[in-house]
Amino acid sequence: MPNNDRLLSIIRGRCAEAVIRTDDYRGDATVVIRPERLLEIARVLRDDRELAFDLLLDVTCVDYLGQQPRFELVYHFYSTRHRHRLRLKARVPESDPTIDSLVPLWVGANWLERETYDMYGICFRGHPDLRRIYLYEEFEGHPLRKDYPKEKRQPLIGPGSKGTYKPRPPEIPHAHRVEGMLGAELMRVQLGPSHPATHGTVRIVLDLDGETIVNADVEIGYLHRGFEKECESGFYYQAIPYTDRLNYSSAILCNVGYCMAVEKLFGVEVPLRGQFVRVIGGEISRIADHLLCIGATALELNAFTPFLYALEARELAWDLINALCGARVTSNFVRIGGVSADLPEGFAELCQQNFKRILELVADAEGMLLENPVFRARMEGVSIMSPERLIAYGVTGPLLRAAGVDLDLRRAEPYLIYDQLDFDVPLGSQGDNLDRFLVRLTELRQSIRIVEQCLRLIPPGPVDVDDPALRLPPKGRVFNRMEDMINQFKLVTEGPKPPPGEVYFAIESANGELGYYLVSDGTGKPYKCRARTPSFSNTQPLAEMVRGRLLADIVPTFDMINMIGGECDR
């Protein structure tokens, strides 16, 4: 555990007059600062040798309607060198919701601040390109403000539309008329939003000089479906199905992260067997996610057979998830304070059998791809980005590890039982697309190794915490004992009520750091439920990765980023 007291005293010492107060709640170090000093203090955080917060994880806002000042900007930082975290908060009033932009310090702040502007209407002074990111220009208001009704729709077409929508040619503010090599104008090409290789949810507007990309503008938000607004309108446990649909190719990992964040808010820990079951479910999810990424990459580079192999392997992984919880994709498996069910009978044998077949299929697919000169030519040396630049963008997960940065939260900040397990964290050497591919392949095999260890080591015992404030009593007792019936009724109708406070908890999901930032006001509903999702930060550098490269390089790069629409657009 990093020493938060020391960290906070260093910050107080460096910029005493900018800091309003500091606190340390449930292991999260928080600094509240004066908003006008943000840029100055952020520079200290990044450049000071003892602090060295090089990774800006998240920028968001909390709307305290009725309080003055109304909006609280929340920044989360991580230091890859010292492995410590910090939350920075600053309040701005409703009359002038303006704060300095952090883009000059972290290039990755760009999209995060655009999102905060879109959702809350905060203006960032000095931002190079402050426009909406998830919603459309015709949208009036900012939906995550507490006074925006959840169901107030502003459709572009169909019933209720005001007829303001006009399909128009894409306008990129930063595009300038440049002449290409042959003296001709650049060609404007749209990739997406309905394109087989963009998975239907992203539009990339390209300016091409011949086949070379001069400018790329990645537009996301086509799958923005109001994750935060939905979570804030339900009880804590009602948000679990929505977390499934963040990263639908590894749903259990998203469940685990959310439930552990809520447990951190309550200050409880799941029994050992429950932790093992979570690790098993999560790692099988990771296997399915990596298989999908590998298969889709093969498909989009025109290798159909390895795609079918990977898909069959994914079916086998889904059979295991199906045995665990009865669902294939959206599992809804983890509960606050436990899991929905213990391992089924014969699960270890089923795992053994399916893993054997998965490894065979993966080996076949791997051979077909890696020994194929076309595949190698399109992956090797393509879209290299330096580790420093990736970190500045806030990239985590396999993408960052492929560039040689040893950052895996399962190892860096072990949660659940990962410190008791033996596994390797694969690192790349070149940081090109092939490294990204190989890192995923190796991680997949390591995940199988983790599940096998867990099945060997799993102790007997309960999987749920024995806390009537969190878990529903067994059905048999509900119908026979008055107290349990009341307990069930209270839990279902009022939800579990954590003490007021706020926490951030992150796990290593299949694509990188998946963090949840929860603010509790003491009621059964989260006041703020923010998911810091890896796909969002990982997609941002795409434009820079492909700039100057050929049009055909977009597809493998985009595949290796493995953008999942639900996670990116929330």
């Binding site: 169901e151 939905e230 079916e315 994709v329």
Partner: protein
């Protein structure tokens, strides 16, 4: 397919006799053909061909795409039903599969893709989100694609399992068989608006 094919001996014999009388040509006896031909109505034959050669346009946006891939994949193999080849241009497709949540931002694009498809065309609403908005009832999500385009088939589930998708596909095939050229079975829209 409706059984309109007839064994050569029974009705076809009478048909051939009438044909011989009408044309004055020395047509061979029905028995001479043996079992080697079928008689049907042209419209039935066309619909029969259509229903086994869907060219789907997968408008995939979200989670349901995972199950769409499984349905197309080796285990469930949609190819058995003649709907294997996805076309990624609406001009070549006749079955628009809307797979995954449709937000207000992507709705105009969906509408445009549908408009670009040539007749005859069918629309499948794949999963809860496209049918009704599913778990999402907020500012961003369209509450059912039938408010913007006509839908021929709703497949329930969040996401539907591949078995449900195949069952839906068979139901759509039955419907296509019943359709006649130029006389479409009227679509039912949730909104009740003319489209």
């Amino acid at each position: 397919m409706e059984m309109v094919t007839k064994a050569p001996g029974s009705v076809a014999g009478g048909f051939l006799a009438r044909l011989r009388a009408a044309t004055g040509q020395p047509l061979a006896d029905a028995e001479a053909f043996g079992e080697s031909f079928l008689l049907t109505k042209l419209a039935d034959a066309v619909q029969w061909a259509r229903k086994y050669s869907f060219f789907p346009y997968p408008f995939v946006t979200a989670c349901c795409g995972m199950e769409y891939m499984s349905t197309a994949g080796p285990r469930f193999d949609i190819d058995r039903f003649g709907a294997a080849l996805p076309r990624f241009t609406p001009r070549q497709a006749d079955l628009l599969m809307v797979v995954g949540t449709i937000t207000h931002r992507i709705a105009p694009i969906l509408r445009r893709v549908w408009e670009q498809m040539a007749e005859p065309k069918w629309v499948v609403s794949f999963g809860a989100c496209t049918s009704s908005g599913g778990p999402y009832n907020n500012y961003a999500v369209v509450q059912g694609i039938d408010t913007i385009i006509p839908v021929h088939l709703y497949i329930p589930g969040c996401p539907p399992r591949p078995e449900a998708v195949l069952d839906g596909l068979i139901k759509l095939q039955e419907r296509v068989q019943r359709e006649r050229g130029g006389q479409r079975i009227p679509e039912r829209h949730g909104s009740g608006r003319p489209l």
